[in-house]
Symmetry: C2
Subunit: 318 residues, 2 copies
Amino acid sequence: MKALELDRARQTVRAVEKPKPEPAEGEALVRVLMAGICNTDLELAQGYMDFNGIPGHEFAGVVEECANDHLRGQRVVGEINCVCHQCAYCRMEMPRHCVNRTVLGILNRDGAFAEYITLPEENLHIIPKRVPEEAAVFAEPVAAAFRIPEQVRIEDGQRVVVLGDGKLGQLIAQVLGLRTKQLLCVGRHRWKLDLLAPLGIATALDTDPIEPGADLVVEVTGTPEGLNRALELVRPEGTVVLKTTVAEGAPIDMSRPVINEISIVGSRCGPFRPAVEALALGNVEVRPLISATYPLTEGPAAFERARQKDAIKVLLQP
Amino acid sequence: MKALELDRARQTVRAVEKPKPEPAEGEALVRVLMAGICNTDLELAQGYMDFNGIPGHEFAGVVEECANDHLRGQRVVGEINCVCHQCAYCRMEMPRHCVNRTVLGILNRDGAFAEYITLPEENLHIIPKRVPEEAAVFAEPVAAAFRIPEQVRIEDGQRVVVLGDGKLGQLIAQVLGLRTKQLLCVGRHRWKLDLLAPLGIATALDTDPIEPGADLVVEVTGTPEGLNRALELVRPEGTVVLKTTVAEGAPIDMSRPVINEISIVGSRCGPFRPAVEALALGNVEVRPLISATYPLTEGPAAFERARQKDAIKVLLQP
């Protein structure tokens, strides 16, 4: 099958021929219809997670082989953590932290920048008919946005700042905007922020004066400096949700969170069910975020496009 | 009156004569009986908080002047944050985060390394008869330890690691040891850790193999590197309570808290009532922590002693 493989020497991917994967017991074989390039993929190409192989963890596909009649032939999206159900964290009902996990396209499991992937059947969620593939491919990052209200109580009237206007920042602003109207998305790109205006979400440039004292700041800048900025904007005893993973560490002034008794909450993958539902109901609008769609074989060009400042989401079509 | 003033050029204090302070309305004049040197005082001498004036925020004293008959003549300890009762945070019942606050010996208010201080009457707590001054002087750091169970739920059976065997680490280990028996205090000094053994608290040297996966890690090393170590020891979805304030920032690898969805909770001052009660009941044993007591006029020698590796708490007696 056709696939893209990391080319870490050149910090990109290269098109390769790979054997079609064989599903293990309990797994399905999924033909990929569409895949999305995430910032994590760009980081992987720069050495993050020390991953080698086929990246890609945002996808929509169709089940070609599996034991479950209910799934075969269906269009699906899939949770990316493949877990053991045996370890302490699985037993503590934190399967996404399974110590034996593989993660699609990130950790010990080939990903979705390929014609086919395998995933445990239990990871798959059927895509409702009204959701096209190019929207369904956003299920994984929308789920990551829905992780935040699982971790932090958000009440209407609370002041929320989303720091970052990129792919994930846009989705988080939309998802948290369902919970509070006191939401401000702060970014560095007027044109990206302007995509949120039709959705009724207030925006500001990072260079604008921004009133500090937010109850909750979501740090999703993708930069090492973002956390310090978030710590400036949050109120005492407030919460910073941290979504940014970057390859390098940054010097953080940790006296501020101590003096102001701020909680910093790391946040990673989230629940697919509300994400798929929000896509089906149109509560989250993803199509304006698509900057380009490339054939899978043009992976290097797609990665180059995804790195450009005027791109948001770049899709790959096998 | 005699007092010690910061000498930041020499990173220490110097003995000076100062006018006896005049209590404002609502304030009491307190004659200091005993004061304790905290790591924060050593940091202040190195430029932390950009404070000038008389440091010292751990004290026991006797009320010489005040409008309240109930307090006059009593031995007291005192909360260090002096607040406005008007600002948003005071109204949100977070007075310790008052934006107009002064803080005894730390922020815009002369401290307790002096013969006299003034503090709002509402800040004072009467010392029970059975508690001697050299124990009462620990009320402030013991209160800081009691802040942790206010912020984080601690249940018996949870695995707690206290990272740091210094002044505050010792007190935190004792206070949290009242909540869970699954507690380990990790430090760099065998002789300090050995003070905890008679209290039934398990200890380990930082160079010993320490099982990761703690539910809660309290970072109280006083070093910029402590947070990274805490992040190694805590389990996914666990909590790190951060007590260390250091003058400089350290590079923190923030992908670990994101991937493991760790909560980092800053923690500062705490409630005096349970602290004074624990001292009165003997639930917290502080006297083994006293390394030396100096007359106030020998402040520079006391600061030098407090910096030595074989010192824990150094007291000053006016």
